[in-house]
Amino acid sequence: MGEALPQILEESAEERSRFIAQNLQRIFVQIYRIVGNIDDAQDLTQEAFIKALQRSGQLKDVRKAAHWLSRIATNTAIDFLRRNSRVNFCEVDELPEALRSPQGEDPEQLVLRDEQREYLEAGLAQLTVKERTALVLRDIEGLPAAEVAARLGCSKATVRSHIANARIKFRRYLERRKI
C-alpha cells in the first residue's frame, strides 16, 4: 500500500467515491436512528461526509477511519438535536407509568396507526430524544456507556438513566404489541 488514506482521499476523486459508497448506508442509518426522520438524516449524512472528507488530513490512523467517520456522524446528529430540539442531554426524565407518545397521542391509536411501519421505528418513536440517542449509541452502535456519556457531554450516571428508561419503555412497547 503506497499512500495513506487521508492523502488519497484528498487527491483522488475515485477513492473519495469509494469511501462514500462503502460507508454511506451505515452512516445514514446511524443518523436516521438518532434524528428519527429521513429528510434530516439525509441532510446530516451529507454534512457528516463533507466534514469528514474536508478534514481527512486529521485522521492519523487509517484503520480507525470507519470509527472516526461514525464519531463525526454522531456528533453532527447530536449537534443538530441540540440546535433544533433544544435538547439538554444531561436532564433525566421521569419514567412514566403508562406508555406515552412524544406527540401526546393515545398509545393505542399510535400502535394501530403504526401497524404497517417497522416495529423498531415505532418503538423508538416512543422514546424521548435523549433516551433514543442513548439507546442507539449503546445498543445499536455498541459504544460503552462511558463513551456515550462523552459524546452527549454528560455524566455516566445520567446516561445510565437514559439507557435504563429507554430499555424499559421499549420492552413495554413490545409487550403491548405482543411482538
Binding site: E10, R33, Q42, Q54, E118, L120, G123, D139, A164, R171
Partner: protein, 187 residues
C-alpha cells in the same frame, strides 16, 4: 426478599451497572428466578434493537436517495474547495514562513553589523562634522579632530538631539546653583 428496580435490571442486561452494584445484583440473581427472567427479557429486547437497528427504514428507495446524497456530497466538497481551498492555503503557508524567516534573518544580520563590526553612521573620518554624547560632555567630530564641551556637574544630564544636527545638554550646575543648558550646533 427485596427485589431490585426495573432500571437496575435493565442496566444489568446490557452490562452497564457500576462494579459494586453489579456484584450485589449478581448474588440476588443467583437466588431469584423472577429477576433472572426479567434480566433475560431485557437482554432479548437489546438483541432485537441491535439486530433491527442497523437496517434501513422501510418504504425507502435507497438507490435514489443514495445517488442524491452522493451527488450532493460531491457538490458540497467542490463548493468547499472554492470557498476555502485547503491546498492553496498550504502553499500560502509556505510563502508566509519564508517571508517571516527572511525578516528575522535581516534583523539578525543588521544587529550583528551594528553591534559587532564597529559600523557607525557617523565616524571620525566622515567628511561632514557630527555631534556625539560622551560621558564627559558633547563632542563635535570632523575629519580633522574633535572638540568636547564638558558638563560641569556630577548630576545626571538630560540630553536632547534634533534632526538638523544640534545637541543640547541640561544639568544642575553645582557652582552657580542654576540649571545650565549647553547647545551645540553643527553646520
Amino acid at each position: 426478599m427485596r427485589h431490585p428496580g426495573q432500571s437496575e435490571l435493565a442496566l444489568a442486561a446490557g452490562g452497564d451497572l457500576p462494579v459494586w452494584q453489579r456484584w450485589r445484583l449478581h448474588w440476588h440473581l443467583r437466588a431469584c428466578k423472577r429477576c433472572r427472567a426479567e434480566v433475560e427479557a431485557f437482554r432479548a429486547v437489546g438483541r432485537r434493537v441491535a439486530s433491527e437497528g442497523a437496517k434501513l427504514p422501510g418504504k425507502l428507495n435507497w438507490e435514489r436517495l443514495a445517488a442524491e446524497m452522493r451527488a450532493n456530497i460531491r457538490v458540497g466538497l467542490e463548493a468547499g474547495q472554492c470557498v476555502s481551498p485547503a491546498r492553496t492555503r498550504g502553499r500560502n503557508l509556505g510563502w508566509r514562513i519564508a517571508a517571516a524567516l527572511a525578516c528575522v534573518t535581516l534583523v539578525i544580520v543588521s544587529g550583528w553589523l551594528f553591534h559587532f563590526t564597529g559600523f557607525r553612521l557617523r565616524t571620525a573620518d566622515s567628511l561632514t562634522p557630527a555631534v556625539a554624547a560622551t560621558t564627559e560632555g558633547i563632542e563635535v567630530q570632523d575629519a580633522n579632530g574633535s572638540l568636547v564641551l564638558r558638563h560641569r556637574s556630577e548630576e545626571p544630564v538630560l540630553l536632547s538631539v534634533t534632526t538638523d544636527g544640534s545637541m543640547a545638554a541640561s544639568y544642575f550646575d553645582d557652582e552657580t546653583g542654576m540649571v545650565t543648558i549647553n547647545n551645540v550646533y553643527v553646520y
